[in-house]
């Protein structure tokens, strides 16, 4: 009964993944015969390719920002929206709404909001007299990556709120009641009950957000295409461009192997830290 799934999966997932590994040891423009170059692609990536190093740096910065802010916001909002009342349910529905939009739509909507000339963001800033803060958000190498990170957080916070609400609702209410009797402040309750009890959920949220940020492509492609001057280029956009604009397929495959390694490494590290944290408390 598992045959159809096994067939499709082996042929269109496992086999390409193995082939991808093979490509990464080759130099290949897609037209002439591929040439085996051993580890050359990887050594070049590591030692000579300043652009790729910059892009990996971009992606790490992007991931850090998104993980920190998205997790913080969603935990905060989930503590606010924990009880099931009409208002909280309504707000959860609103917050979740961006999740159902396509990333291309989200990217294009935010391109409008960020537009330096007639965009909503700058118009609002000017309206309240903050003219000097009305910047060229997507067109300036200093801000483009952060502008996309903000969009990403806007896009997925609602989904994480729902995950946190489900997790926090598992915490027994009498813990809070007991704490209140003992005169614990809100902050103490959060620090000593909510945070440690929510750690398994935090692990899920952080892991998911991290992988999502390393896989990010659509927003960048629809907002800046990695520009200006690669300031918002991420690993997947780089793989795409290296393969389908520069036609260096082997080199692009090597980049995608780097992506797999980075993702596995980061998830492994996170699992370790979050689990140890949990054990101590």
């Amino acid at each position: 009964m598992a045959v159809p799934a096994f067939a499709v999966y082996s042929f269109l997932y496992l086999y390409p993944a193995i082939q991808n590994l093979a490509y990464s040891f080759e130099r290949w423009d897609g037209v002439t015969k591929p040439e085996f170059v051993g580890l050359h692609n990887f050594t070049y990536l590591a030692t000579n390719d300043d652009l790729f190093r910059k892009i990996v740096g971009n992606n790490i910065r992007f991931t850090l920002l998104v993980v920190i802010f998205q997790t913080a916001f969603s935990l905060l909002f989930a503590t606010f929206l924990l009880k099931n009342t009409k208002t909280t349910i309504f707000l959860r529905v609103i917050y979740f709404f961006p999740t159902i939009l396509s990333s291309v739509s989200v990217g294009l909507i935010w391109t409008f909001l960020y537009n330096p000339n007639f965009g909503f963001l700058n118009a609002s800033l000017k309206a309240i007299g903050l003219d000097s803060f009305a910047l060229n958000w997507l067109g300036d190498t200093k801000y483009s990556l952060y502008a996309i990170a903000v969009t990403q957080v806007w896009f997925h916070t609602g989904q994480m709120v729902i995950i946190y609400v489900a997790g926090l609702q598992q915490i027994p209410a009498d813990l809070y009641e007991a704490a209140e009797v003992d005169g614990a402040t809100r902050w103490q309750q959060f620090k000593n009950i909510t945070w440690p009890m929510a750690l398994p959920t935090t692990a899920v949220v952080v892991a998911y957000t991290t992988i999502q940020s390393f896989r990010a492509f659509d927003l960048v492609y629809s907002m800046t295409q990695g520009g200006p001057l690669n300031s918002s280029d991420l690993i997947v956009t780089s793989i795409y461009n290296t393969a389908f604009s520069s036609f260096k397929y082997g080199y692009a495959s090597a980049q995608s192997i780097v992506l797999i390694v980075v993702v596995l490494l980061v998830t492994w590290l996170q699992r370790r830290t979050l689990r140890i944290d949990y054990g101590v408390k």
Binding site: Y9, F77, F118, Q159, A166, V204, D218, A243, L259
Partner: protein, 271 residues
């Protein structure tokens, strides 16, 4: 007091952050460009459907809409079918094979689907599956199988063994048990997974971008990307196209809110 005030301000701020951009798009699809630039949040002077009419005439959204529906519906159907069959088999097998299959499919969760773009592209060029909706459907099935099998296996494992055993005594074969016990019992899980898959397939950009160049085979996200270039200065058309592309999702979200939220969060938690 201070806590309550901060809480309300923050909650309202994020709600507005979602509502304001969405309203700009909805209102903008009824406006002319000038109105969008000068008064993005004001109600349109007249609720004219001109943008929609223009879009149908010049932009040709009908074909990409149809393509997106075909790709999403077939991808979801076959993924659910293959995944539920495999998940049923895995959940019922006590042998090493079951364990092996589960680990094999879980490997797909560790390898991001995006890294396969290059080999898939070359494979599909060879098989003449570029510029083909069938090609997109096959890619979608392959990419979403691991997560679907993961979600459904954990669900099938929760069905009490006795249910299966009784059917087995009555002489029902595996296919029969799958069809008349496992499937009906797992309807909520299948529904939630289906919605999760539908959203992924409906919104995917990377694979269509790479595999589809022919105009009559493009899906909605690709068309939106084209619009950005074509109507670089016309946000009214762009917003209208975004409306058209989002309507099915919004309707489904409103109609099946619970399964929607359940599906999309299960995808995240289990993945």
């Amino acid at each position: 007091m201070l806590y309550k005030a901060t809480k309300n301000i923050l909650l309202t701020a994020f709600a507005l952050a979602v509502i304001v951009p969405s309203s700009i798009v909805v209102l903008g699809s009824f406006k002319k460009d000038v109105e969008i630039y000068t008064k993005p949040l004001a109600l349109p002077k007249s609720w004219s459907l001109e943008n929609f009419r223009n879009l149908i005439h010049t932009g040709n959204v009908f074909t990409p809409f149809k393509n997106s529906v075909i790709v999403a519906v077939f991808s979801v159907f076959f993924t659910l079918l293959f995944a539920s069959l495999a998940a049923y088999a895995i959940s019922r097998m006590t042998t090493v094979t079951g364990r092996f299959l589960f680990i094999l499919f879980s490997l797909g969760l560790a390898i991001p689907g995006q890294v396969n773009i290059i080999p898939i592209y070359h494979l599909f060029v060879k098989l003449h599956l570029t510029n083909s909706l069938l090609g997109l459907i096959l890619v979608n099935i392959a990419l979403t199988l691991p997560i679907s099998i993961f979600i459904l296996t954990s669900f099938f494992k929760d069905i009490p063994k006795e249910m299966y055993e009784v059917a087995g005594i009555d002489g029902a074969g595996h296919l029969r048990i799958y069809r008349s016990i496992a499937l009906p019992l797992s309807r909520p899980a299948m529904g939630a997974t289906g919605i999760f898959l539908f959203v992924i397939c409906w919104n995917d950009l990377l694979y269509p971008l790479m595999l589809i160049t022919q105009l009559d085979k493009k899906t909605l996200p690709l068309t939106l990307i084209d619009f950005r270039g074509e109507f670089a200065t016309s946000y009214s058309m762009l917003f209208t196209a975004i409306m058209v592309a989002s309507v099915p999702m919004v309707v489904m979200y409103i109609a099946m809110q619970r399964s929607f939220v359940a599906g999309l969060t299960a995808g995240a938690v289990k993945g």
